[in-house]
Symmetry: C2
Subunit: 451 residues, 2 copies
Amino acid sequence: MSVTEYLQQNREKSLAELIELLRIPSVSAKSEHKGDTAAAAEWLAARMRAVGLTVDLVPTAGHPVVLGEWRGAPGAPTLLVYGHYDVQPPEPLDEWLTAPFEPTVRDGKLFARGSVDDKGQVYLHVKAVEAHLATRGSLPVNVVFLLEGEEEVGSPNLATFLTEHVDRLRCDAVMISDTTMFAPGLPSITIGLRGLAYMEVRVQGPSTDLHSGVYGGAVVNPANTLAKIIAQLHDEKGRVTVPGFYDRVQEIDERERAVIRGLPFEEEGLRKEVGAPKLGGEEGYGPLERVWVRPTLDVNGLLSGYTGEGAKTVLPARAMAKVSMRLVPDQDHHEVERAFIDYVKSLTPEGVTVEVEALHGGQPWYAEPSGPVFEAARRALARAYGREPVTIREGGSIPIVKAFEDTLGAPVVLIGFGLPGENAHAPNEWISLDNFHQGAEAIAALYDELR
Amino acid sequence: MSVTEYLQQNREKSLAELIELLRIPSVSAKSEHKGDTAAAAEWLAARMRAVGLTVDLVPTAGHPVVLGEWRGAPGAPTLLVYGHYDVQPPEPLDEWLTAPFEPTVRDGKLFARGSVDDKGQVYLHVKAVEAHLATRGSLPVNVVFLLEGEEEVGSPNLATFLTEHVDRLRCDAVMISDTTMFAPGLPSITIGLRGLAYMEVRVQGPSTDLHSGVYGGAVVNPANTLAKIIAQLHDEKGRVTVPGFYDRVQEIDERERAVIRGLPFEEEGLRKEVGAPKLGGEEGYGPLERVWVRPTLDVNGLLSGYTGEGAKTVLPARAMAKVSMRLVPDQDHHEVERAFIDYVKSLTPEGVTVEVEALHGGQPWYAEPSGPVFEAARRALARAYGREPVTIREGGSIPIVKAFEDTLGAPVVLIGFGLPGENAHAPNEWISLDNFHQGAEAIAALYDELR
């Protein structure tokens, strides 16, 4: 039986296993899910051992790293597979059509928190290894899996982990599946990711909530103040006003601009996908440029005062905003964080105090689309999908990509099997079952191409 | 035994009774407290019957009205006492030093939700009646109590109630104790209240929460948009920008300006009371003018996206603000609500939709400080406190005051026994025990003065 035949004949079993993994609510951001997050690591370790990998569960200061190895091909290249088994918080729960941790198949899609980001995309790599070992007893390359449980909280312990285990992790290429294909059936290699600077702004006015009648008018309202600060973070052209924000931003070259123009993209399709009445953004750029090669600033959360049923006439003591900036090469998240903090403080009027905290950050990343690993990936995708892959960027961040490159000195290749509209980080997240299965075939083919 | 002696000898019993009433969490805004709100009405009805009033519990479309009467003084004036037995929601609970519905005495203050707003101030009127009936067997005037359970949600059914029971409620004056004294020991008659227009603004962008990386930059963010809308509701001088907002605002006359200047007020005292680093507000007015005679606009609540622990990179589908305006004579809350709705819609950019709802409103109120009832109140307060009362305004709203005047055609006199810093509508609400007891004496004296 060929590797591909094995994968095709075992599709039901693969899906059933993934569903087991998706049932574990490994929400790394929430301390009450610490045990669940550990359980997901243990589930993966057990499965990976079962397919023939040697597995260590390595403790960190946070959630453990699952380290799986198969080194039976001396002299052949070594491929490091990076992914994460933690997931985003599922809230708001009432917008899920089926419960986030009760995986459900509808219309060829598997719905569950973590289905595409990143459990499904991690697990298809495990299945690719299984297919080789089950049919041939060996792999054409050496493989190291590094699966972490803290990607959704900014990978606070992974850079240290890489440094401490640099010898064990030495490899010829790093492979990550945590991105999307540009369109169904159109295999895609991602050559750029945005960075992130995620901030929390806390404005404090009076020491306690006040009666808005008795005191309203004489006290600086922290919620109004926070709104005024946020409003000043963009100009009328949709550009971010943080001083120096654009200083290091690289405009894309003509070649990439042409690639972007050549993609099968329709603005109305994106508008429908997000369900907004109209798209928007920075003047002078198209939607793909706005999400791939331009930096942004978005409010991720707002909280102040009374937000329950009915009317409460309270003048709030405090107001909070979560604000994140997506960064592009060559912005530096530390620099942006410092500039943001200084700027927000400069916008804060008398009568309130402000605290600004950097919750987490990551550097933007770009890779030249060339070299032997990139070419092998291109051929493997063409084989599995019957179609030449396109190169794209992605607006999201995988903060650790740059650390892999810098620490291990190996090229990083991002082959994603998500799809537009997959609702990662949102209610009703899903992965395409076709992509879960074809992805495993593509990765299995990639091992052969790399030999 | 004199009426005053009776009250002084029964202070412990009066306090114990009030504590019983305060234990009942009659939060009218929350449907889960419907039973508690009814229980507070029944408790009051039972106590009022016990002191000698004839009591009806009159159902309304919402919470019941407690209607208590003593009409044994034919030919004498009739005094209507209005108050409310419902309370504000107690949240945020973790800021209370002792639980909101476990009344606790510290430093001469009784701490509990509803202690000063308005259960304590209602109950001292009941005690004044009791003192007369217990010592003399009669009252010098006729008394009607009208205690509602919906003041904190805007008295939606009271105007109808007044109209439907106008004959039964006919009176020579309406007496309300739901305001504060200007300072400890300084009896005060309130001659002005601000009105209220309480709005909810809901901005909807994408149909569901989105990944802020994948989509950020191409989608109009409803939280940023809401912040921008709110920021545009004031100009740089702290004036409200809603078109026409100031058209009907009456500047105060020189006489009242002189009264305000003569009050024992220090800005630093107010600043310490609210615990803010500095006071603020509309340019060109002092703090007392800002809260008494100038209209305002305050955000009461903000909610959007992810507000929990840690960082979630979500581009929120929607954002909500509760925004209330305090109004002064002769602003009209219906007119202001319409202008606010139109203005917010005009500020809403393409890419999102906005809904604006008026949650509740009330008219501002002002009474000339003259006439026989005002004079009787002045003398009674001077007797109980040994000091001439001052006339003040209050920044808060009692939406029904104007309806009383208009429907019953009787003057309304506001004698408050709260104190600055009493935390009405905030955690750690309290009433001064001295004022609870002296207040009952003052009201008992007022009955004699009105005869």
